[in-house]
């Protein structure tokens, strides 16, 4: 029996992120005034407090700055996925992002390994940006 996935709570603030993911794009808010990127969506720039911003495409490339492996599911949606790996990635644009290792499971990892964003369908109409190791991407 399959369990319902844990769907993101879509708000006006984060809708463009999830819409973009569905279209195979990895986007983030960038302040139009000071160019600060914000991984946690907001109407206001936390650097200069400007209200002007745009959603911009990111390269989706970065380096692993840490990781952890879930052996326990804290939500029923992940019960059949354990053990799975979460990567902490410092994106080339200078911001930190957290997402699963593509394909799930566990791999030998090292700090600094290069990764890039790929997209996985989590549910009908819900696509998650996840990280694949560069060495796996042809």
């Amino acid at each position: 029996m399959s369990v319902a996935p844990l769907l993101p709570t879509i708000t006006d603030e984060n809708r463009p992120f999830w819409d973009a993911a569905r279209a195979g794009r990895f986007r983030m808010q960038r302040c139009s005034h000071c160019a600060t990127l914000r991984p946690s969506p907001s109407d206001i720039c936390p650097h200069c407090l400007s209200e002007e911003f745009a959603w911009v495409d990111l390269s989706g490339r970065g380096a692993v700055s840490s990781w952890c492996v879930y052996h326990r599911a804290f939500h029923p949606a992940f019960k059949e996925r354990v053990p799975y790996t979460i990567l902490q990635v410092d994106l080339d644009e200078g911001v930190r992002f957290v997402a699963p290792l593509a394909g799930g499971g566990v791999r030998p990892l090292k700090l600094g390994m290069r990764v890039r964003v790929v997209f996985e369908e989590a549910a009908e109409d819900v696509v998650l940006p996840v990280f694949a190791l560069e060495e796996d991407v042809v």
């Binding site: 936390p46 952890c68 492996v69 879930y70 939500h75 902490q88 911001v95 930190r96 957290v98 996840v130």
Partner: protein, 368 residues
């Protein structure tokens, strides 16, 4: 820098029992501890004119259950980092004359309600990333890669604290813990194993503070709050912290020792917020007891055990006594300084520092 020493004192403390008490809700557990703390201090209920509630859902219900109308009433959110904030606020309220006797009240029914600390909430939950343990797993994986820390070295934290707990009749964990037990235990979120995690339980803790002059007339020898400082790393709180809160800790260290008029070598012991075992390493480094990356070696050889140079969490802490979100570490500091700790007493204890390292870093120095 204001020398806080001798201005504010802890005059009453009580720990409720820690464990599984589905028959009492968190307010009732808190009220039972409140009564015990009044008895400890030799105060009457209606002398309490300041109330700071922590974790309890509603300050209104807390005051109703206690049947008091304090002049000063402040509710704090359920985050464990708020215990230090509560004590800081109690000190400020007393110093500015907002209240004469402030009760800091904490109740927790996390075990009965099966509090999971993870699952649905937060920015990363749809990615499968939630729970404070996983945030600490990310922090620790990077740390142990960078400094090549073996699991055996980290195990010293859990093993030492278990030995302390076995000298504390109130501690939930009384069985010995061996290195094999530790190594063979399952991972929860790797690299953290079961015994790196704190113990979710029901329980309550109450502390009563007053000014030095009023403290002299009460039942217990006063334990003074000599230094208190908080600093935060909140602006990027949704993304994993880059620096183990080191800047915030360093800021606290710059303030809290001069405020108390003492330095690290004057401390008889430390009470460090051990929600997860590695947090003790970051805290030792952040406050300058050793250098960055050195804590895994610094804690070996019995240094942080009772009888060592710098005993840490003599009650067993969150890992082996119970997770009371910092509170039972603070009451342990007071008991040590009253010399009421029996078999786990630090000989001639004079000064103890409490440290909580999180998005709000707090530190308190207690002296007798």
């Amino acid at each position: 820098m204001t020398l806080l020493r001798d201005e504010i004192a802890v005059v009453g403390i009580a720990n409720g029992p820690f464990g599984s008490f589905p028959e009492y809700d968190d307010y009732a557990q808190m009220a039972i501890a409140f009564k015990a703390a009044l008895d400890d201090a030799g105060l009457e209920k209606n002398q309490i004119d300041g109330l700071i509630t922590h974790r309890l859902g509603l300050y209104t219900r807390a005051a109703e259950v206690l049947g008091i109308n304090p002049d000063y009433a402040v509710p704090l959110l359920r985050h464990g980092r708020m215990s230090g904030v509560a004590i800081q606020n109690g000190v400020a309220a007393l110093l500015t004359g907002q209240a004469k006797y402030v009760a800091l009240v904490y109740g927790n029914n996390g075990r009965s309600v099966r509090d999971l600390y993870g699952g649905g909430g937060g920015l990363w939950a749809p990615f499968g990333m939630s729970s404070p343990g996983a945030e600490h797993a990310l922090l620790y994986e990077r740390y142990r890669q960078k400094y090549a820390v073996t699991p055996e070295k980290l195990a010293t934290v859990s093993l030492t604290l278990r030995e302390h707990a076995r000298l504390n009749p109130e501690a939930v964990m009384q069985k010995p813990l061996t290195l094999d037990d530790y190594m063979n235990a399952r991972f929860i979120v790797e690299p953290l194993r079961l015994f790196d995690y704190c113990l979710i339980n029901d329980g309550a803790v109450v502390m009563i503070l007053t000014t030095k002059d009023r403290a002299k007339d009460l039942k217990q020898p006063p334990v003074y709050i000599s230094g208190v400082s908080t600093a935060t790393d909140l602006a990027n709180v949704s993304t994993p912290p880059r620096g183990y809160w080191r800047e915030a800790m360093a800021h606290n260290a710059e303030r809290v020792y001069p405020m108390a008029g003492i330095d690290r070598e004057d401390l008889s012991g430390l009470m460090i917020y051990d929600n997860f075992a590695p947090n003790i390493l970051y805290s030792l480094e952040g406050y300058g007891f050793c250098k960055e990356g050195e804590a895994p070696d610094f804690i070996q050889g019995g240094r942080i055990a009772l009888g060592g140079d710098l005993p840490v969490n003599t009650s067993g802490g969150h890992l082996s006594e119970s997770y009371m979100q910092g509170w039972a570490l603070n009451t342990e500091a007071v008991r040590q300084l009253r010399h009421q700790c029996g078999k786990r007493q630090i000989k001639d204890a004079k000064a103890i520092q409490y440290i909580c390292s999180a998005a709000i870093c707090s530190s308190i120095i207690y002296r007798r």
